[in-house]
Symmetry: C2
């Protein structure tokens, strides 16, 4: 039987993982101090309990999952390391965020210096639910603490023994989906700005590949703000390997532009925007930025 | 019956168009002064004759097609305008290159100031041959001189009345194909550099979309050097509209990196490289550049 698991924090992804674990009978805690009503409701619906502080979370849990926006990964790891130093507890720390492998290695060093077992992880897919195809990849010398959560229905796959492998796989996979979506959003917006959308769509005809890509662009806006940091992490990953960071920094630019529009205010309960309306809004936002710049 | 057509120059694309026109009974000239033996052979095979100078080409032709690498488009247009001023001849000038619409407008102004009719054009597809699906888009107030070449079997489509529409369509279409190929080449190379190619390919499984994208990357290397300038033109097109230039400048970086390797030396008569071998070479080139940088 798996011991108590702490999830930092109860966002869309964290709460979905929490719900899978509590359904499997695992005791799941999080720290709701200062969190919004939405987060509290989501945590309650997932059956997660409030540990009340990072120190308590560290003391009470055998395994911590860090599931956050990329920019928060390092500060939270430092906070957790501090709590470990204060409490003397050393739960395993699974770094599940969409961050560059070189950053994962830094966090791994911090945790190992503190004396806590470390696991690199990367989540590919939507927040998991029973029957969903979300994959949680992991890597490191000993990933068994995370792998034990398979019994709760999570698809957990070991990539290899080195820190950075799981997060590296997340980076290149996200580049293939979100990076491609960024290129297509930009070129469709450029066509709209030039009055060429009809001509371009006619040129694409009924080819399957463009149809799929165009649909992906309309599913992007409500996720756009969240994706900016992830694109920057992929850019850092590629630059570290001697590859250009510019494609993915440009993808971050494209999602940032989208995030500046009302399109980004949509919730997942509303339908995706119509293509033409989305392009009109994005082209206008680009034009407005151009005139200011 | 269409009058004499001048093609500048008899590269892969120019010679293929020339062959279509001469097969249709059109008198096609080019200027072979200082050109390589390969170009002379290609022109001869296409049934094109050597006018011997830009001045002669301008004097003898009713229509000129500029079919060049992007960086040569403006200098050649200036040379042709000079030849028009010297000779007093004013053939129509069709700007068929993969260049930004704002550059097309500059060339249009130059030609119209000289007194020559101007046509914006953009070629989508491989060099044309009988039965191929290459499309030549055109725009401008009067595109009839170019449209008359339809009788030779060329698929010529009018986009609209404004200069920049045909080239704009070329830019956004090329971003959808070559821009996407750049993203995928980079992420596959990053996976290779991190030892994650097998894991990534396994994650893709037998999905059709990744398979198509991966194949496109292996068809790129021998075209990579030629595509650098085109990516820069698309970047300029997007920037002019207030959209980020970085995605496409990064695509140019990716093709430039590929162009620095032996992969780019392949001719169209050799098979495309194996994926794994290509990725190994690109990852090594990136690593070498990183160490120098």
């Amino acid at each position: 039987m798996t011991g108590p698991v702490g999830i930092i924090s109860a966002g869309d992804m964290g709460a979905a993982i929490g719900a899978m674990l509590t359904s499997g009978g695992v005791d799941v805690a999080t720290d709701l101090t200062g969190r919004s009503e939405l987060t509290r409701t989501r945590a309650a619906e997932a059956g997660m309990r409030d540990a009340g502080s990072t120190d308590a979370l560290v003391e009470e849990c055998d395994l911590l999952l860090s599931v956050l926006p990329p920019a928060e990964a390092v500060p939270i790891a430092e906070e957790v390391a501090g709590a470990m130093a204060r409490t003397g507890s050393r739960p395993a720390f699974a770094e599940c965020n969409a961050i560059a492998p070189q950053t994962v290695v830094r966090i791994a060093t911090l945790m190992l210096d503190t004396g806590a077992p470390f696991i690199d992880a990367g989540i590919i897919g939507s927040p998991p639910s029973p029957g969903s195809d979300t994959r949680i990849y992991c890597s490191g010398p000993d990933t068994s603490a995370l792998e034990s959560l398979r019994e709760c229905g999570l698809d957990i796959r070991r990539v290899g023994p080195r820190f950075g492998q799981a997060s590296g796989l997340k980076m290149v996979y996200a580049a293939s989906t979100k990076g491609t979506t960024a290129v297509w959003t930009e070129l469709l917006t450029a066509a709209e700005a030039m009055g060429l959308t009809d001509a371009l769509l006619a040129e694409f005809g009924d080819a399957v590949d463009p149809a799929r890509r165009i649909k992906a662009t309309t599913q992007m806006p409500r996720r756009a703000r969240r994706w900016v940091g992830e694109m920057e992490e992929i850019a850092a990953t590629f630059e570290h390997l001697g590859l250009t960071p510019r494609i993915l920094l440009g993808a971050a630019d494209m999602f940032r532009l989208t995030g500046e529009t009302a399109l980004a205010e949509q919730t997942s309960r509303e339908p995706d925007p119509e293509l033409r309306e989305m392009l009109r809004v994005l082209a206008e936002q680009a034009r407005a930025g151009n005139q200011q710049g």
